[in-house]
């Protein structure tokens, strides 16, 4: 990447709206910050693979968001700021837990049924951990989507590439930015469960339905209802007992940016702390710890012109993160017991102050307070040195550079555990309380070790050429080219890594790109990657991945030159081949390995003798996955105010690993090898419309609406021949759920008698009736058919209105998805299953009285094998619209702030994940259905610039 490109990076800020003080500091007018300026946008230096290009010259497909936009989501995880911001990027929320809330990122849908679906994420050109970065240090994030943009990444580009570019210094006087943001989280839709009275009533009903006698007497029920006997008839809301309503989050940022003709720098310090929703265990007890996540970031990006021709560029970024958790490594166990433990099982505290509990059930609050803590300390380091030499003396526009980069992530843990005693109580004969102890108090014991680490070392060399021939108003020839060499070696280990897993993963190869533009009208580009990996057999390690693209800027042609309606029109198309070397299977599976221990006892004393067994048959011709990508795009601006862009793509992935289950007989006698034979087709589009106010208006606004869609289909996965056509996964989307199709609830015995026999357990009225797919009169696993849609949405939409009036600014981002199915499963929805409790959804159960209106099957106090199977009964449309961020700011008048020697000062309030409109009937978040809840964050902050 040429240093000089950084000079123009400031233009990027045009993409952001006011509120970023640096934009103003660089003399970019207040008005222009919101105005749509097509030509300015077209000259913006967009990051592409190993370089940048002015936007007009780009003939490939990519989308970009500025770091300023990412600041609108207040979160400790960078990826959680990506929702709805990058057309083509599907972001899947997993959990709200601070420090464990990494969302899934998918570029242009899923293209393989193999395990390797991850984007390649490059931070400043090098693979590195990125979720620890803070938005303030980010210049832009780009998603490279088509073959032309990703071919240079060779074996690694097929799933798309996410380029994260950090800020660098500018040749301008020192600018100091300070900001702080303070807020709090609340759980969004924390599960609600029925209290003891309702629970006991429904439980009795379930027992009755099962043909058993009731467990709770009228006296018990009365005690639950009036709460008169809290120790023997408790009514505990365990969620409230363990979780707080709110937890604070705060961020502090200080950065310096500036420089002159010889040295430019960007220096940043950032601190963030986000506390968990658990009760403050550490405040109540010495043996536990408060749940929190804190991180310090630092960055020092320095560019130095050493001589007239030689420049150096140093990138140094790092973070230190601490995560503390009461009660062990995962929170899954705690949330599991919160969601299952009946409200009347035992009181939190017994009458004598001891913890309640039984032999089988532990006390969730005590688990939090009395079982120790788990803390991790993670460190990331990203460091790159690059030297660039201008070789104009050889050829005008030629430069060479070399770079070495070291990126590291290391995490260690400290686990302190102890046990505690709990007591179950019974009433003695004399009415006294008899305590039975389970468990015992022990002292804290600890162990500390490495939990995981990642490191890579990359060497790169570049030859860059960039030159324009011809005069500005005559025929112009823009030629740019890059030829690069790359070798990387990375190691990824944790404390369970085997010798073979700890061997470094390596790539080595060359890549290149030639771009030619004629008179700013016709653009042609050819790029390629030639890359090898240690993952493939020696004779076929290297792959060649070429791609070509063309573009035509029609609005620069004579016939459109003075058109006032069509102010910008560009057509582009690309086609090429890319690879994916994350293919699954085991390492070095091209060799026949004997990895399994198969010992046998020999001799009259039965001594164990070590033996070995053959592993899966070697995949001797192992290759990577390849994909042919076609992309057609249009960019159109009407009357300088309405921007429209559309990209349509068609991906054909092939050589996906699959075992030849359809053909190879079992008499082969070995686990079938994985062969490169699977095929997946994936088509879709991205569309964006943006409308902005006139540049002279006092009220500045813009509205941007985007939608992106991807639908895949398994063309061939070599699956075994099935008995019925509906059982095939071939021809269906990857991850298609298969289950029984529910037809409703049985009305009466007559209907049961007239229906196919459901073999799982004898059914009775109020049970779920299933469809006999194969018509054999029996409902069994063979009737499992495709039901619902996959967990990955096919369509994501976003709506991004912004406005600015005098000092006020408002920015909203709505994100919505559709084409996905959610499942009402687990203890929250399946009443009394696996000794669980019941939630309000069970109130709509089937009874003989409510038979006509019931929406929930009849209750069963034991595990019901018919009703709680995976079936369409429990599926819901997973579509939703969420308000991902809302920010309202006020920039203080300049005259005012100058008095205190500030350049700008802005105060703002922010809301992140404020609400969701969906089909979950109010029970759960559509994405986070169990475990640590999704979070809503409300905050206020101030940004100052000196």
């Amino acid at each position: 990447m040429n240093i000089k490109n950084y000079h123009s990076l400031g233009v990027l800020l045009l993409l952001g709206i006011g509120g970023n003080p640096t934009a103003k500091a660089q003399g970019i007018g207040k008005d222009s910050s919101v105005q749509v300026m097509p030509m300015s946008r077209q000259s913006y230096q967009t990051p592409i693979g190993y370089g940048t290009q002015p936007a007009w010259k780009i003939s490939s497909a990519l989308s970009t968001v500025s770091g300023a936009d990412l600041q609108k989501n207040f979160t400790a995880n960078l990826a959680s700021a990506f929702y709805g911001r990058l057309p083509g990027l599907t972001v899947l929320q997993n959990s709200g837990e601070p420090g464990a809330d990494s969302p899934g990122l998918i570029g242009r849908g899923i293209n393989t049924f193999g395990p390797g679906r991850n984007l390649l994420v490059m931070v400043d050109g090098y693979e590195s951990s990125y979720e620890q970065l803070t938005p303030d240090e980010i210049e832009s994030v780009s998603l490279l989507k088509d073959a032309s943009a990703t071919a240079i990444y060779g074996l690694r580009g097929a799933n798309g590439v996410l380029l994260i570019t950090t800020k660098r210094g500018t040749a301008s006087p020192l600018i100091v930015n300070f900001s702080t943001q303070q807020g709090f989280h609340t759980a969004y839709r924390s599960p609600q469960f029925l209290g003891s009275f309702d629970y006991a009533n429904l439980y009795n009903e379930g027992l009755k339905n099962d043909g058993k006698a009731p467990l709770y007497t009228p006296a018990d029920l009365a005690a639950y209802q009036d709460g008169s006997d809290p120790f023997f008839h408790p009514d505990v809301n365990w969620y409230d007992a363990v979780l707080k309503k709110t937890a604070p989050i705060s961020n502090y940022n200080l950065n310096f940016r500036g420089g002159n003709s010889s040295v430019r720098y960007f220096v940043l310090l950032n601190a963030i702390q986000s506390n968990g929703l658990y009760k403050n265990a550490g405040d109540m007890n010495d043996e536990s710890i408060n749940s929190r996540y804190s991180r310090f970031n630092f960055r020092s990006n320095v560019d130095i012109n050493l001589t007239k021709r030689l420049s150096a560029s140093l990138t140094l970024g790092g973070s230190v993160e601490d995560k503390a958790n009461p009660a062990g490594i995962t929170t899954g166990g705690i949330f599991n017991s919160l969601a299952t433990l009946p409200p009347n099982a035992f009181p939190i505290y017994n009458k004598n102050g001891s913890f309640g509990g039984t032999s089988a059930l532990s006390n969730p609050l005590a688990n939090l307070l009395q079982t120790g803590s788990y803390t991790t300390n993670g460190r990331t380091l990203q460091s790159t040195l690059r030297l660039t030499e201008q070789l104009d003396f050889l050829a005008q526009g030629l430069s060479a550079s070399v770079a070495v980069s070291f990126n590291n992530f290391f995490r260690s843990y400290s686990n302190k555990t102890k046990q505690y005693e709990r007591f179950s109580t019974t009433k003695g004969i004399a009415g006294d309380t008899v305590y039975t102890r389970f468990g015992q108090n022990t002292s804290l014991v600890g162990n500390e070790s490495e939990s995981d680490q990642y490191r890579n070392v990359v060497f790169q060399g570049f030859l860059n050429y960039d030159r324009t021939f011809g005069k500005p108003n005559a025929a112009r020839h823009d030629v740019s080219a890059v030829l690069m060499y790359n070798s990387d070696s990375y190691t990824n280990t944790d404390n369970s890594t085997t010798a073979i897993q700890s061997l470094p993963y390596k790539h080595v190869g060359v890549g290149g790109r030639v771009t030619y533009a004629n008179s700013s009208k016709y653009i042609g580009e050819f790029s390629f990657g030639y890359m090898g990996s240690e993952a493939f057999p020696k004779s076929r390690r290297y792959g060649f991945f070429p791609a070509a693209s063309v573009g035509w800027i029609a609005s620069n042609e004579g016939f459109l030159k003075d058109n006032t309606t069509i102010t910008y029109l560009k057509l582009r198309g690309s086609y090429g081949l890319v690879g994916n070397d994350q293919i699954g299977g085991s390492r070095f599976m091209f060799e026949q390995r004997y990895p399994y221990g198969a010992s046998y006892f020999l001799g009259t004393t039965n001594a164990q003798v070590f033996g070995l067994a053959e592993g899966a048959a070697a995949s001797t011709d192992l290759r990577w996955e390849s994909e042919k990508k076609l992309n057609i795009g249009v960019e159109l601006t009407l009357a300088k105010r309405l921007d429209i862009s559309l990209d349509i793509f068609s991906h054909n992935r092939y050589d996906i690993l699959a075992a030849p289950n359809r053909t190879v007989p079992q008499y082969i006698g070995v686990t079938l090898p994985l062969l490169n034979q699977g095929k997946v087709r994936n088509n879709g589009f991205e569309a964006t419309i943006r409308y902005g106010s006139k540049s002279t208006a006092q009220l500045q606004y813009s509205v941007e609406a985007s939608g992106w869609y991807a639908q895949n289909e398994i063309v061939d996965n070599a699956e075994a021949i099935r008995l019925y056509d509906y059982q095939y996964t071939t021809g269906r989307p990857i991850g298609q759920p298969f289950g029984l199709e529910a037809l409703g609830l049985f009305r009466d015995q007559a209907e049961i008698a007239a229906s196919p026999r459901q073999i799982f357990t004898p059914v009775q009225p109020g049970d779920i009736k299933y469809k006999d797919q194969n018509g054999d009169g029996i409902i069994d696993q063979n009737d499992s058919a495709p039901i619902g849609k996959t967990g990955v949405p096919t369509l994501t939409v976003s709506l991004h209105p912004r406005l600015q009036y005098r000092g006020f600014d408002l920015d909203l981002l709505f994100q919505g998805v559709t084409g996905t199915t959610a499942y009402f499963g687990g203890s929250y929805f399946h009443a009394f299953q696996n000794n669980g409790k019941a939630s309000p959804i069970a109130l709509d159960r089937w009874t003989t009285e409510t038979a006509a209106t019931a929406t929930y099957p009849r209750l069963s106090a034991s595990n019901n094998l018919n009703n709680y199977r995976f079936s369409s009964f429990w599926q819901r449309d997973g579509s939703f619209v969420k308000l991902r961020s809302l920010e309202l700011g006020y920039t203080l008048p300049t005259q005012l702030v100058e008095k205190v020697r500030l350049t700008t000062a802005r105060v703002f309030v922010n809301g992140t994940n404020l609400f969701s409109l969906d089909r979950m009937e109010g029970y759960i978040d559509p994405e986070v259905g169990s475990g640590y809840p999704a979070l809503r964050t409300v905050s206020a902050g101030i940004r100052l610039q000196f």
Partner: protein, 578 residues
């Protein structure tokens, strides 16, 4: 300063250049020595031995069942096959044997329901054998006797696995070399005759190559006698009515030879008899002999309880000591004893097979029952008490007295009125203390096979009598009457085989090869259990027979179904009726 920077610049360039120079392939090569590949295995005798050990683990069949994913990667059965026959009924209702009792086997129900959960690893064992045969000569420094021994061992293991398939499926594809999965080989089923000949050929070679015996630390590896016994068992299967016929149990049209010989030839019995006799004759040199010195009421139990006793020619030895809450006991001991899934409860149909000590049949009142259960039990063949854990009998130290009477401690799930005690040693407890004695071949079988085959070939000649009587007398039972006709002798020797080899995974296959499954009370029709009651003021117990269940057997069940997933691949002819 400039100089330093330029030096760094050039240094980095050189670094890149040198790494380009230094053969990029080398950069991508795997570090040596981190895993075992095939060439490692065949590099030395020590490495080869690990692979042979692994082949034993996979290749030796067991009379037990282990729910162990490391052993069998696919789903496993939980109990032995006894409950699929008139020997027993399973306590737990979800065991695979229920599918047999209800004739619910299907071509898509999976290999567990059809009991053949080893289907896949059997082919793996055969592959292992073929790989060893292919590459044995690549191992440097092996002496001839060792090479002969290894060749004999893998031929024996290959033959054993084919023999196990023969009795289940009839003819199957013959795979005698390693096949490459990427070449989509297409091997069809061979005829029964070809399979039998293939097994016999491997056995003959194994007998000639294997040692007669090993040092005690190698006990468990194949010997001459084991290979000869395998040959005898295979020829007995081949000579029996299921295969030794012109017309099979159900027609497969032009493919009839896949499921039978296509001719009936009585001389096949003589071959079976000769093979059994040869095994008996080889035994002394291998140190094998019938156990006769523990007492007539103890010999039998000693044989099945004591591992590596002289009568055992080959045992499967996948496991060391196990506890009662572990497999194989988890699906074979009563839930009231092991806390496990359930035991094997002996049906009255089977108890009725035990003669009285004087060699005459016991009389049981099947309608009214009787008040003399203890007396009836005490009159039976001594092997009864060494096989069946009946009401009032000793189980082990943890449960000295079995109570199977109504309301008794061990009555829950005891459908037959008694529990299988055989296979469950007295030392079994909650700690891992009992080594499963998984008999593959024991000498008594050779004598019984000899008697059976000789009678079919020549009639009840003296040698046939002698062979049966040897087995009867060592357990205190009188000789068979000398006046028996060929048919009577057949009935007695069939019964003797049922008693002597009870619960050793022989009964299901014997029933099928004799084609008696459809006879009343064998695998079809009413299965009786006993309800046992205390008699107030007496130590005696009352028994009341009742029909536990009525079983179904369809003729197609004389051979297993191949699973649809395999048939759909197009190379297999499915067995008839499926």
């Amino acid at each position: 300063m400039k100089l330093i920077i330029r030096t760094i610049f050039c240094g980095l360039l050189c670094l890149i250049a040198s790494s380009c120079d230094k053969n990029l392939n080398e950069f991508l090569d795997k570090a040596p020595g981190v895993d075992v590949n095939e060439n490692t295995i065949f590099s030395s005798r020590v490495q080869l031995e690990t692979y042979i050990t692994g082949t034993y683990r996979i290749g030796i069949h067991s009379i037990f069942t282990y729910n162990d994913a490391a052993l069998i990667p696919t789903a496993r059965t939980f109990t032995i096959n006894a409950a699929a026959t008139d020997e027993a009924e399973a306590e737990a209702t979800f065991f695979h044997t229920e599918a047999w009792n209800d004739a619910n086997l299907t071509t898509s129900g999976g290999l567990v329901a059809s009991e053949d959960y080893r289907y896949f690893i059997r082919w793996t064992a055969i592959r292992n054998c073929n790989i060893i045969l292919e590459r044995l000569n690549d191992v440097p420094g092996l002496d001839e006797p060792y090479k002969n021994q290894v060749t004999g061992e893998v031929k024996f293991i290959r033959a054993l696995n084919y023999s196990e398939m023969l009795k289940r499926y009839g003819g199957v594809p013959i795979v005698d070399k390693r096949l490459d999965p990427t070449e989509a080989p297409n091997v069809k089923r061979s005829s029964v005759e070809e399979i039998v000949n293939f097994i016999v050929k491997d056995c003959d070679e194994a007998v000639s190559l294997l040692p007669a015996t090993y040092t005690s630390n190698f006990r468990g590896r194949a010997t001459k006698t084991a290979a000869q016994m395998l040959k005898a068992r295979t020829l007995l299967i081949a000579a029996s009515p299921l295969f030794n016929t012109a017309t099979p149990y159900l027609s497969l049209g032009e493919n009839n030879k896949l499921i039978c010989y296509g001719t009936a030839d009585n001389s096949r019995w003589q071959k079976a008899a000769d093979a059994a006799k040869a095994a008996i004759d080889l035994a002394p040199a291998g140190g094998f002999s019938l156990i006769t010195d523990k007492g007539v009421d103890k010999n039998y139990k000693f044989v099945w309880e004591q591992g590596d006793n002289a009568e055992i020619v080959l045992a499967e030895k996948v496991y060391g000591a196990r506890a009662r809450q572990q497999f194989p006991w988890y699906g074979t001991t009563p839930s009231t004893i092991s806390g496990a899934w359930g035991g094997v409860t002996v049906l009255h149909n089977f108890v009725r097979k035990y003669e009285k000590k004087d060699g005459t049949p016991q009389t049981w009142d099947l309608t009214a029952g009787g008040n003399d259960l203890n007396r009836k039990y005490s009159e039976l063949d001594p092997r009864f008490a060494q096989t069946v854990g009946h009401n009032g009998s000793f189980w082990n130290r943890d449960f000295p007295v079995l109570e199977t009477f109504q309301g008794g401690r061990n009555a829950n799930g005891c459908w037959g009125g008694a529990w299988m005690k055989k296979l469950i040693p007295d030392v079994l407890s909650t700690i891992a203390s009992a080594v499963p004695n998984a008999i593959v071949f024991r000498l008594a079988e050779a004598h019984l096979s000899y008697a059976e085959a000789l009678n079919e070939a020549q009639g009840p000649v003296q040698a046939a009598h002698d062979a049966v009587n040897l087995i009867r007398q060592r357990s205190g039972m009188p000789k068979l009457p000398t006046t028996l006709t060929k048919e009577q002798f057949r009935a007695r020797v069939h019964n003797e085989r049922a008693i002597e080899l009870a619960f050793e995974e022989q009964r299901l296959w014997d029933i099928r090869r004799w084609m008696i499954a459809e006879e009343d009370g064998v695998m079809r029709g009413p299965m009786y259990g006993l309800r046992i009651f205390r008699i107030t003021g007496s130590t005696e117990f009352r028994y009341e027979p009742y029909v536990k269940e009525v079983r179904t057997f369809l003729p197609k069940m004389y051979l297993h179904p191949f699973q649809n997933t395999e048939v759909f691949k197009g190379y297999l002819v499915q067995n008839p009726g499926w």
